[in-house]
Symmetry: C2
């Protein structure tokens, strides 16, 4: 039996016991608070912040799990507001990319952000249009009229680093920061395997034909609720025929260029994702960089 | 670069060109027809049936892709009805399990079933309750009031064959046919990696602690829209503590028993999934059966 994928990525690695049968239990209940993509943290001078835990306000909240001390942890949506000395709102991407929180606390925020976002955008029954009510401590919404039960979405995404000979195919989306390139990615559609979705996306976006596809690792990505399925693939063709409606650019990169980009010393200022993103690990692996 | 997973499972392996930019194109348009989980097929005496293709009726349909002959293939929902001599409604599970259709045609039906089911159950905006309209040839629904865009769901499921020493852990759901056991499975929740979900599900349902988790292969499962992510995992504990609200039974099986079950010669009449289900491949691999 092989071992786990080498990397447990940011936003995974929860320290909570998420078992469904424990929902609603716990010695006492404490709450993490988010306002949009920002969470309330206790700021530490060391730069190793801690998640702020509050008495539950008693309003709408979702259950996250049972903490190591036996307390139930829930998540509450709050509004941006003044905070006491020592606390701050910091956005989840910064917390992840700058390593400001322990992995287990970051994973709690990923779970919280996805669930709260789902409730906020799914207050009505998609089947009949009636308002729905939260059930199962935040893991279901029920329609009182048509009796439909709705479950939180998790949207699987194939994210793929393509290698051909010694080159890696990377691209940039229209919304990327200037100079940023990454592994190409797309949502897996109904009726596709992971491997088929990877090949379709690559061919759609770049015209490059992909042969073998190998699973690498996975990462929850709570913006709002993706499951990034990281893959390494073998390119079977060279020519790039860009679909400009989907991506802004795609190029083949040498290992030397990729090393310069990781080191932020590329002559044209090109850059790659930080270690917190699964794409970072995929690109390192595809380029053969330890 | 390793090659693909060994198996392309039933419901994957589409022969259509699904590229988004080709939607709405095609030399002419032909339609497959489904009534619930049944599709219209041309019955052949050989048992190798063919998917029936119709002139598109012009009503609600979803685009599936461009066929090998350049025709656009769409899917239409129909009602159970009398069919001409030589045609029959056959349900998708039978078509898959009995190998009645070529793989590429079965994959078209998986895609069709998932998309049509999504439209049927998502006619209203989950954000505001207003009726929504189909867009992008069936790959989006738009709300005219709040402008929300809704995309088809694909629900990732972790399906896991657990091995410990020479034994395999298998279970049965409350809705399984009598005597049927399979790999245990559960939906991946927001904020979990695939590997975390596998461990949580196994521990929730059976109390067995799982260590390393290895990806095997994936299968679209159109009932209504799951993506089965097949995993092999290493059990770290023996004792089974059943959660009877989730599953009806779980047991450790020897390789000899599993061989009898595959051969349908188990003394208690216990059985395992057919080759069309990803669980079949996972159990073979976990038991070390070629």
């Amino acid at each position: 039996m092989e071992s786990d994928p080498p990397t447990v990525h940011a936003f995974a690695g929860s320290i909570l016991d998420r078992r469904a049968e424990l929902r609603g239990s716990g010695r006492k209940t404490r709450a993490v608070r988010l306002a949009g993509d920002k969470a309330v943290v206790e700021v530490r001078d060391s730069g190793k912040h801690q998640l702020a835990l509050f008495e539950a306000a008693g309003g709408m909240c979702v259950h996250l799990g049972i903490g190591p001390d036996g307390d139930a942890i829930v998540a509450e949506e709050t509004k941006p507001c003044e905070l006491p000395e020592g606390q701050a709102f910091i956005d989840l991407r910064s917390l992840a990319m700058q390593g400001l929180l322990a992995r287990g606390e970051l994973a709690m925020l990923a779970q919280a952000r996805s669930l709260l976002s789902w409730h906020a955008s799914h207050r009505f029954c998609a089947n009949c249009g009636e308002p729905t009510q939260m059930a199962e401590h935040g893991y279901r919404r029920d329609c009182g009229r048509c009796k439909a039960q709705h479950f939180p979405r998790t949207d699987p995404v194939a994210i793929v680093a393509v290698r051909r000979r010694s080159l890696c195919l990377l691209g940039r989306g229209h919304a990327f920061l200037p100079g940023m390139y990454s592994a190409l990615a797309g949502f897996i559609e109904p009726g596709e395997s992971i491997e088929e979705a990877a090949r379709r996306e690559l061919f759609e976006e770049t015209g490059v034909v992909v042969g073998s596809v190998r699973y690498h690792s996975s990462q929850p990505w709570p913006f709002p609720s993706s499951l990034m399925i990281g893959l390494l693939a073998e390119g079977l063709s060279d020519e790039i025929r860009l679909d400009a409606s989907e991506i802004a650019d795609a190029r083949w990169f040498t290992r030397a260029e990729i090393e310069l980009m990781f080191a932020e010393r590329h002559p044209q200022g090109l850059r790659l994702p930080k270690p917190a993103a699964i794409a970072h690990s995929l690109i390192r692996e595809a380029a053969g960089i330890e």
